[in-house]
């Protein structure tokens, strides 16, 4: 949780620093590529005749460094990144224009090409970083994945082209401003005409080539998905069917095998990542239900809305839910048993519900600690609440609720 808090405060990030980690810290705070604030600072430093560099030094001195930050998880492109990047770029441009009006300016011939080149380099730098990998999806989505991959590749290619054009344009602008192009004006014009002509001639070929590449890539992805589907069917479903044949005289065992296979297949079709029961509360609840289901052989329906990292309080909630599920599996073996949990901003609530024989909570002997200690006491020690509602013959519902750590 401390990491979450640390993310809300602006701190330098020396682990990813080029100089002092100021821009890396700003980038992390905004959730964007640090190249964007870095280039913004370079542009401002150039456009303000060095005053921006002094501001950087001041920020270096004022902003505290992040302590004990290990390897940061790989950055992923998040919503609003382009708007934030464009906004930062326009603010940098505004500062540069203001300093130009104030007269704190080297020359148009130097600064504007540098600004253009800086934006182009930022674009190329961002694109050169590895693209976020798409999580494994269901085989049914393979066609859509191929199309998405092709579109993404085309988009990256276009942006790379735009970045290269910006850098080349900056170089040409600088040469033109310095008068170098005047001398070679006729030669440059001739070369430009030839390049344009070649471009027009080769454009259809290039377009066809790019499309065939995209089609081939989509076909390859589809082929790989088919191979993966075959391998998965062989390793899981066919193996389970073979086991079912061998254990035909054990209905409970067969039902358990079928239930496990169903769960695995559903998770695979949904493209669900592997469970992280030691880290996420939703996975911990699901793992507890699976464990009891396999131990007791009673099907448990699990619905968890939302998710958050585990901490001491939530571990207590998971342990109490596990105890309630164990009781339900013991006394309502014919099912159905349901576990419903909801993760809200400030608290987590879980309900364990069965339609078993039920009991009268007031008549539970004092020496029985299952409900009193393992569920109610455990929740109360963590500042939470547990309520057991049960009536003989009408099943039992256990409600568990605990606030989330701040």
């Amino acid at each position: 949780m401390s990491r979450v808090h640390a993310g809300n405060v602006l701190r330098r990030d020396p682990d990813n620093a080029v100089l002092g980690g100021v821009c890396a810290g700003i980038g992390r705070r905004l959730g964007t590529d640090p190249a964007i604030p870095r280039v913004g600072f370079v542009v401002i430093a150039i456009g303000t005749s060095g005053i921006g560099a002094l501001v950087y030094l001041l920020l270096w001195a004022v902003i505290p460094a992040e302590a004990g930050v290990g390897a940061e998880p790989r950055r992923r492109r998040r919503r609003g990144s382009w708007r934030i990047a464009t906004g930062v770029g326009l603010l940098a441009l505004s500062v540069v224009l203001a300093f130009r009006e104030l007269g704190l300016w080297w020359s148009d011939a130097l600064v504007w090409p540098l600004v253009l080149a800086a934006f182009g380099v930022t674009l190329l730098w961002s694109l050169s970083r590895s693209a976020p990998e798409e999580p494994e999806a269901a085989p049914a989505a393979d066609g859509a994945r191929g199309v998405r991959a092709s579109r993404r590749a085309a988009g990256r290619l276009s942006l790379a082209g735009f970045g290269i054009a910006l850098v080349l344009g900056a170089g040409l602008l600088f040469l033109w401003a310095k008068g170098v192009l005047d001398a070679a004006g006729d030669v440059a014009l001739a070369a430009l005409v030839v390049i344009l002509g070649l471009g027009l001639i080769l454009a259809p070929l290039w377009w066809r080539f790019a499309r065939s590449l995209a089609t081939e890539r989509a076909e390859r992805i589809r082929s790989e998905e088919r191979a993966e589907l075959s391998a998965h069917l062989h390793d899981s479903v066919l193996q389970t069917l073979a086991l079912v044949q061998h254990r035909a005289d054990d209905p409970a065992g067969v039902a358990q095998l079928a239930r496990r296979q169903e769960r695995e297949l559903r998770a695979w079709l949904a493209g669900a990542p592997p469970l992280q029961p030691d880290e996420r509360v939703a996975d911990a609840l699901r793992a507890a239900a699976i464990d009891i289901e396999e131990t007791r052989g009673t099907p448990i329906e699990v619905v968890v809305v939302g998710d958050c990292p585990l901490d001491d309080r939530l571990e207590a909630l998971v342990a109490a839910a596990r105890e309630a599920l164990t009781n339900a599996a013991k006394f309502a073996a014919d099912g159905p048993i349901r576990l419903y949990a909801e993760v809200e901003d400030d608290r987590v609530t879980a309900y364990v519900d069965d339609r078993g024989e039920g009991f009268d909570p007031k008549r539970v002997p004092d020496d029985r600690h299952g409900v009193r200690e393992s569920i109610i006491g455990r929740m109360e020690r963590q500042g939470g609440r547990a309520e057991v509602r049960s009536h003989p013959g009408r099943g039992t519902e256990v409600e568990l609720s605990v606030g989330r750590s701040r």
Binding site: L30, R83, T86, E101
Partner: protein, 65 residues
């Protein structure tokens, strides 16, 4: 109070303030109260657009987190 902050649209607020500032600058310019060069006006426009885009991007991130 919490309901108010939930309803607050940061992008609209920032855009409204930016337009008000730009409008005030143009009004003062027309009334000859101030004499703004084109460069200053471009700088103000770039800053306004930048702030609105930044607020919009951060708002989208917060809403989608």
């Amino acid at each position: 109070m919490s309901e108010m902050s939930e309803r607050l649209d940061l992008t609209s607020l920032v855009a409204g303030l930016a337009i008000a500032v730009i409008g005030a600058l143009i009004l003062l310019q027309v009334e000859d109260t101030i004499d703004l060069a084109t460069g200053w006006m471009l700088s103000a426009l770039a800053a306004a657009c930048g702030v609105v885009l930044l607020a919009s991007g951060l708002g989208a991130r917060r809403g989608g987190a």
